[in-house]
């Protein structure tokens, strides 16, 4: 596929079809960890990293192992197990070889196992019949989009902390409504991508 096409995939996964704000994937960590910028960025990068890694491992397994042997129905089990194993593996490797990175990312790694966004991106690559390169661009875009949404949202939450809403709106409801408004702003991107290349 042309480089142009790859960029379209990346940008659309990152903004137009933003995983969190448009597709509702990865909401739990999004709402839970976005209270301050540092942890948001940390979580975002961790997700980005695991997404790309997961793609690189799950795609070949689907294309060269599962599909040719008619084992498509094992996809769910295999993918989730792989992602869980990857996360464990990454934790061990980072702890041993890049302790600094482990200290900043390590806390968020175990949360990746039930992060539906990572599982979703692996499923999407297969469903859309992407090649390996297209899949990698897709997961890159998805991860960048997640990171973007996290960091933007943490900024907004910092402000809502000082707000004084009615009693029943304190906490979760206010956060959700803020997310709604951020989501609307992302809708503006759809027009952009359609006309990106003339």
């Amino acid at each position: 596929m042309s480089f142009e096409g790859l960029i379209v995939i990346l940008v659309s996964a990152a903004v137009v079809n933003n995983f969190v704000l448009i597709q509702f994937l990865g909401i739990c960590p999004f709402l839970g960890v976005s209270k301050d910028i540092k942890s948001s960025a940390g979580m975002g990068f961790a997700v980005l990293f695991v997404m790309v890694l997961a793609t690189i491992v799950t795609w070949p397994i689907q294309i060269y192992l599962l599909t040719p042997n008619d084992l498509g129905y094992l996809q769910t089990i295999v993918f989730v197990l792989i992602i869980a194993a990857l996360v464990q593996f990454m934790e061990i490797v980072l702890k041993k070889y890049i302790p600094a990175l482990y200290l900043s990312l390590g806390v968020y790694l175990p949360l990746m196992t039930t992060n539906c966004a990572i599982f979703a991106v692996a499923l999407m690559n297969v469903k859309e019949n992407y090649t390996l390169v297209e899949s990698i661009f897709n997961s890159l875009g998805a991860g960048v989009g997640f990171l973007l949404a996290m960091v933007l949202f943490s900024g907004i939450r910092k402000h809502t902390e000082n707000a004084d809403p009615p009693e029943s709106f304190k906490g979760a409801p206010l956060t959700l409504i803020a997310a709604a408004i951020l989501s609307i702003s992302f809708f503006g991107f759809s027009g952009v991508i359609e006309n990106l290349f003339g």
Binding site: V16, N17, E128, N129, G191, I193, N195
Partner: protein
């Protein structure tokens, strides 16, 4: 210490095997139902495109453009059906296109797509305009505001024509 390690692995392995076995069994039962239903839906779609056809015959994909998933001819020579995939910006778009023996489009429908609702709707709504067009696709302009989807669609139809030239 060794037992500490062996037993957990055995338990995990047994659970995996039992689960996989159970799933293989269920798959055995449901797979025929799923493929039969899929074939029925495909047949229905093809009938919608060329209502006058009596039987659809699958052709080999040899020499056809890569984007052609399947090509069919009709046993009473009422036309050819092409199932084409093309890339919009949201992913794959699958189009089914019928071309009559004279090289004019009979009808074209979208089988699946994941483009943004609302913005890409005009592209799919103008499918009727393709009817009767020939390979030059004169008069079909890209919809402004939905350029990528429009161009993807046009490319899909063009590929169908390429295949048509090869087959006829």
């Amino acid at each position: 210490m060794k037992k500490d390690f062996v037993l957990p692995v055995i338990v995990l392995a047994v659970i995996c095997l039992v689960m996989s076995g159970a799933l293989a069994l269920i798959n055995h039962v449901t797979y025929p139902i799923v493929s039969e239903a899929a074939a029925e839906r495909a047949e229905l779609a093809m009938r919608e495109i060329i209502p006058g056809a009596d039987e659809f015959v699958l052709l080999s994909n040899e020499g056809l453009p890569e984007s052609i998933v399947e090509a069919y001819t009709t046993s009473n020579n009422t036309g050819f059906i092409f199932i084409v995939t093309t890339f919009g910006y949201g992913g794959e778009i699958t189009i089914i296109c019928g071309i009559d023996p004279q090289g004019l489009i009979i009808n074209t429908l979208t089988l699946s797509h994941t483009e943004t609702k609302g913005i890409s709707d005009p592209v799919f709504n103008m499918q009727p305009e393709y009817i009767g067009k020939d390979v030059s696709l004169a008069g079909i302009d890209a919809i402004s505001g939905a350029t990528i989807t429009s161009n993807a669609y046009k490319k899909g139809i063009s590929d169908a024509f390429l295949a048509f030239e090869i087959i006829k």
